[in-house]
Symmetry: C2
Subunit: 329 residues, 2 copies
DNA sequence: AAAGAAAGGCGAATCGTTTCACTTTTATCC
DNA sequence: GGATAAAAGTGAAACGATTCGCCTTTCTTT
């Protein structure tokens, strides 16, 4: 494999000059040509390890998330990766299966593996734990989808409470008063925010909160499925149910189907996240859609800003969800 | 940041000994203890760049795929990543948007970024292009989901033709004779294989092939959606339609719904890939399910074998799909 | 045309490991 | 206990880039 030395030799200049050429320093036009063609001929590529060692700089961005195979994250990461790649960065992906221990371990693992920046969807880590791990590295970080209270970093979120409120608004306007809510576990950032929207809507419309109509469980298909049974077997079942992520929506619909209940006649469902799912049911499913692509792009932009030297307080962006159907027909 | 020198100093041994310790050489028990505690105290971590430079070895595995946000790939990668991580590897993920040029560029990009191994879901690259790019690097490669004709590498596939045949079998047994087929573009490996299954079933049952009942288009929601219209507007529409990936299945169902057609009364649908989708419709959707987790695990295992020195011809594994409902009721 | 400034070029040190070629210590065996 | 073998330890030379400080060339300006 050709080294910078080979290129220098073939181009008739010093290694230092080739290095300058590679890194955009001042090089005479004639020499540029020679170096370019030497590189071409030798098929020279910068050795990322040598560069990383000497220059403390790498093309790697760490991406740490709870699960790779959740469509929402997949879509966010897809957009993220495309933007970062255009700036010559590679994404090192790591998922921690929503496990606290793994979350810490993989964060450590990523940090110690030479990343330049970090995109992080956190779940369990506290500010103390986060700082304990990251402080020695001084790596620019963007938190996505969730915040960590007390961490000063760029942060890309959506307006969870407002989106849920809009969904609730639609249901209430249609006459629903008993509305159930399927949310993630209490400590989860998005679960909390979405619950705020739920409670706020109830109180805005003078509806009494019934704890039988709230589920806080892992954001899985099973949770949605079981919620269907739990709610619909109540003596006084809800007339509408809001599910707050994709898997729970799917599970909920599946559970209702297995109880031979119809949507929307027997119970209305408000879903979350999968815009494609919306149109496969007999009656189009109303849904809260998060701007996944925009989330990914924004996160990438924030990170690139920092990598280019932007300093300053952590910036927090709230992107708006879209509620479908768009116009309230 | 502490270096091996600091550790050596604090432990009272030479750098070489520390290095041996780190890499599992012979070190006296007493020294092991000292080194361990020195590392602990100094919070020493191996510098991956220095190691990569000197030892020509890195913890990075390249993963190159058409799209990150296709659930099938997401599930495969998720399993893959978990296995590789347990062996201390990081996945560098790159998607090429099903674009030929990007496919080549990103492969190059990954290769030149110091990866130890490659997991690759190819689409457009020929054997010549593949070898032209990879030959200088000698990096173990596992092809997943698709083969490249003429490339000698480990390969993890599913029994596409047989799975489709089984789906067709079920439909035919139920009395269907006009069965439409929504497949990916002709050159695509899986599309070709699945079509083989389709044609074989037709001929096995003496059903004449009608080209109006075959679609070869990009594997997208739109393709599925348009196929619904195309097929059902025929003077002699099919009584069943098989869609051969997740997005096309979803699009197909959505298209049928918008034509106010019912499944299965007006037309039966056989779906592909999303096991969760199966149970949300009024009538459970029959579906071909690929063993995504097993695919990922197998690919990881193959790659680890190679990284541990296994040599020999490329091994090809065909995993079996499951057709739901499981027992033919 | 001379002086000063700017641009371009170079040698050598350096980043933090691993590994080679030895030397020294410990263990084994008759 | 001495010879021999095996285990453990070491110094120093790489790996392939970047960068600092200094020197040379070229350009600008009067």
């Amino acid at each position: 494999m050709a080294t910078i030395k080979d290129v220098a030799l073939k181009a008739g200049v010093s290694m230092a000059t080739v290095s300058k050429y590679l890194n955009g320093g001042n090089v005479r036009q004639a020499h540029k040509e020679k170096i370019r063609s030497a590189i071409e001929e030798l098929q020279y590529r910068v050795n990322p390890f040598a560069r990383g060692l000497k220059a403390q700089r790498s093309p790697y961005i760490g991406v740490l998330l709870p699960e790779i195979d959740v469509p929402f994250y997949g879509n966010v990461v897809s957009a993220l990766e495309k933007v970062l790649r255009e700036d010559g960065f590679h994404c090192i992906m790591s998922s921690y299966s929503s496990d606290h221990g793994l979350e810490r371990d993989h964060l450590q693992f990523l940090l110690s593996s030479g990343i330049e920046g970090l995109v992080y969807i956190p779940e369990h880590l506290t500010a103390e734990e986060f700082y304990e791990l990251t402080s020695r590295y001084r790596i620019p970080t963007v938190l996505v989808d969730r915040m960590i209270q007390g961490v000063d970093a760029d942060c890309v979120l959506v307006n969870n409470a407002e989106a849920v409120q809009e969904a609730m608004e639609r249901l209430i306007k249609k006459g629903h008063k008993r509305i159930a809510f399927v949310a993630g576990p209490q400590p989860m950032f998005t679960a909390k925010e979405r619950m705020v929207g739920y409670f706020r809507s109830l109180s805005d419309h003078g509806i009494l909160y019934d704890e039988a109509l709230l589920v806080n469980q892992p954001t899985t298909f099973a949770t949605g499925y079981q919620s269907a049974q739990k709610f619909m077997n109540l003596p006084n079942p809800p007339t509408a149910i809001v599910a707050t992520n994709y898997d729970m929506t799917l599970g909920l619909i599946s559970g209702l189907r297995d109880m031979e209940l119809h949507i929307p006649e027997d119970v209305q469902v408000f879903g979350f996240d999968s815009i494609e799912l919306r149109t496969v049911l007999r009656t189009p499913l109303p849904i809260v859609h998060q701007p996944e692509e925009e989330i990914g792009k924004t996160a990438a932009k924030y990170l690139l800003d920092r990598l280019r030297g932007f300093a300053g307080e952590g910036r927090i962006t709230r992107l708006n969800c879209t509620v479908y159907p768009k116009a309230d027909a």
